[in-house]
């Protein structure tokens, strides 16, 4: 790490723009290096190196290890017992695991629901709250409250709503008597949707805050011009405001995809990922702390999750950083 700075070529030869005397290196960021002592370089190396080593060791090397382990079987006792099995884990996963495809489907449903319902609703709330109205702060606090509370607590709170015996919904509609039960938590046809209501409840507030920040960046003059042209509120939004929200929309899309892939806590608290609510994240975890500890097999599921995540993360980051470089 400490060796790299020395090899960077000097780029101070470009002429400093303007009348500034060329003797000061102020305009040339690369000029820094010439002023550094050996001790400074060592300091810099440590400052960048220590966090990088920690991050790479715990996040990226483990991610690579997930990929490697996915092609093996291992019972976790000693390294000798690691056996290379090629694609067998994946073959088994794709063809004979009764939980895998439902889990993929549920992750997809999770994303589709979040992007179609709470996201536009969060945008709608943001647009309303952005209109210089009174008590805007109070409303924002209410909508944003679920985002602050942990997913685990949200799971417990919604259990009180959905509990078949004592829950709010069944008590209200009289479905809490034997024979009339609606089992929101156990019924595999219902439980995913019940959980998604809770997830959407939280997601809307999150999206509202992101859009509110985005709307602050919309030039008011644009809106005024549109209003002067006789455009109505909806037309102004559609033709002027929404197109300028493009960067926010990208962030929202990425955040929503990541949230859908990460979904775990809520389901785990709610019903431990029982039938109907299987998710990829739950399957991975069940192979660690669950009854069946199959390291290679669990890693194969993690690799599926990794591939989907990277397919989203990498293009997003490349686009983001490219824009930043230009700016």
């Amino acid at each position: 790490m400490t060796a790299t700075p020395a090899k960077v070529p000097e780029t101070a030869d470009e002429p400093a723009p303007g009348p500034a005397p060329t003797s000061t290196p102020a305009k040339v960021p690369h000029g820094h290096k010439r002023l550094l002592t050996r001790r400074d370089r060592l300091t810099l190396g440590l400052m960048a190196g220590v966090p990088t080593i920690l991050h790479v060791a715990l996040v990226w090397l483990t991610a690579l290890a997930s990929i490697a382990l996915a092609f093996t079987t291992w019972n976790g006792i000693g390294f000798d017992s690691i056996q290379w099995v090629g694609l067998q884990n994946f073959r088994e996963l794709f063809t004979s695991n009764p939980q895998f495809w439902p889990a993929v489907e549920h992750n997809v449903v999770w994303f589709v629901v979040l992007i179609l319902l709470p996201t536009p609703f969060g945008l709608f709330l943001a647009v309303q709250l952005d209109k210089r109205i009174r008590f805007s702060r109070v409303y924002q606090t209410a909508f944003f409250l679920p985002v602050v509370v942990s997913m685990a607590v949200i799971g417990f709170v919604w259990q009180l709503v959905y509990n078949p015996d004592t829950g709010l919904i069944n008590s209200l509609i009289g479905a809490n008597k034997p024979g009339h039960y609606i089992d929101w938590i156990g019924d595999p046809d219902l439980n995913l949707w019940a959980i998604l209501v809770a997830a959407s409840w939280r997601h809307a507030g999150y999206m509202m805050i992101l859009y509110l920040a985005g709307l602050k960046g919309v030039d008011p003059a644009l809106r005024e011009a549109s209003a002067l042209d006789g455009a109505g509120e909806w037309q102004t939004f559609k033709n002027v405001v929404f197109p300028t929200l493009r960067p926010t929309n990208t962030v929202v899309l990425v955040v929503t995809i990541i949230e859908a892939l990460r979904a775990f806590d809520l389901v785990f608290v709610f019903n431990k990922g029982a039938q109907g609510t299987e998710l990829l994240s739950i399957l991975v975890t069940n192979n660690i702390i669950g009854e069946s500890s199959r390291i290679g097999y669990g890693s194969a599921i993690a690799v599926v999750l990794l591939v989907i995540s990277l397919a989203v993360i990498i293009p997003y980051l490349i686009a983001t950083f490219r824009k930043e470089r230009r700016a």
Binding site: A48, F264, S299
Partner: protein, 295 residues
């Protein structure tokens, strides 16, 4: 943030559209709070009463007994302690390490900077489950006799702190490097010319200027780490060593024997985050949007 100049507000005539909007917002906001209020109501009613009259009934008696019972029976104070042992070092270390990386990346244009930032940010976006299997095995393999209670990285506060720091420093490095880049370059140039060391540059010049961003990130990190559920569920095996959010899962079966106690316990867990949120709302929201705005 969005408050308007007072004089302006008073003179706006009452328009029907505005009344409709406020009605809509009040109703929706109440609906949004309803699940939490429902939990609060359940927590304040004695179990005997709700089991007799049902939960949808007019409350005869509202007390805080369930809260005190939940707090004492489960020894919640202990769990707040285990949470602090993890959260405080994790937040401080994350801020320290990520600000160092950000300083390096934003102030010294070494070739690796973009790549480094990319690695950190991408790592932070990965789902935690992608890395958990090898991480779990790694934590079991690392022996730390005498350093942690368990003698391993597994089942120790240290292990939790390390993964929090490693994982969260990605986001913070990204936000802080954007922030530091907006500081004028002349600032550090001048100090360097004067012969200040790199460390002084970082510690006495750049870092104090980053206070607003650091405050926002500290708020955000405190809440995130406090709310963490997954790492502790997998990487901690002794129930007593778990931070409060993860411990809730065990407690709800052991001590919180009726729904009213569960509600009280869950709400008690949420109280610290709510306090932080209400006191530092501005920091929290700006922290969340600092990263996103730059998209």
């Amino acid at each position: 943030m969005s408050t308007v100049a007072g004089a302006h507000k008073q003179r706006t005539p009452i328009r029907p559209a505005r009344v409709l909007l406020h009605t809509f917002l009040v109703v929706t906001a109440l609906a949004w709070l309803a699940p939490l209020l429902w939990a609060l109501l359940a927590a304040m009613r004695p179990y005997a009463e709700t089991s007799e009259k049902g939960y949808v009934s007019w409350p005869d008696k509202l007390t805080f007994d369930n809260f005190t019972n939940a707090f004492q029976q489960s020894d919640m104070l202990h769990y707040f302690g285990t949470t602090l042992i993890v959260a405080v070092p994790a937040v401080l270390l994350t801020l320290l390490l990520s600000s160092m990386v950000a300083f390096y990346v934003s102030r010294f244009d070494f070739r690796v900077n973009l790549f480094l930032l990319l690695v950190f940010t991408a790592g932070n976006l990965l789902p935690q489950q992608v890395i958990i299997t090898p991480l779990y095995r790694l934590y079991l393999l690392i022996d730390l006799p005498g350093i942690t209670m368990s003698g391993k990285l597994y089942d120790s506060a240290l292990g939790l702190v390390l993964i929090h720091v490693a994982f969260q420093s990605g986001f913070c490095a990204f936000v802080l490097s954007n922030y530091m880049r907006s500081l004028p370059h002349e600032l550090t140039e001048a100090a360097l010319v004067d012969g200040a060391s790199v460390w002084r540059l970082y510690w006495q010049i750049v870092l104090p200027l980053c206070k607003p961003a650091m405050a926002a990130l500290a708020t955000l990190l405190s809440i995130w780490i406090y709310n963490d559920f997954f790492w502790a569920i997998v990487l901690i095996s002794t129930g007593e060593n778990m931070p409060i959010t993860s411990a809730l899962n065990n407690l709800s079966g052991q001590y919180f024997t009726d729904p009213n106690l569960v509600a009280a316990g869950a709400l008690l867990t949420a109280i610290p985050t709510l306090i932080v949120y209400f006191v530092l709302q501005r920091q929290f929201v700006s922290g969340l949007t600092l990263g996103a705005n730059k998209g």
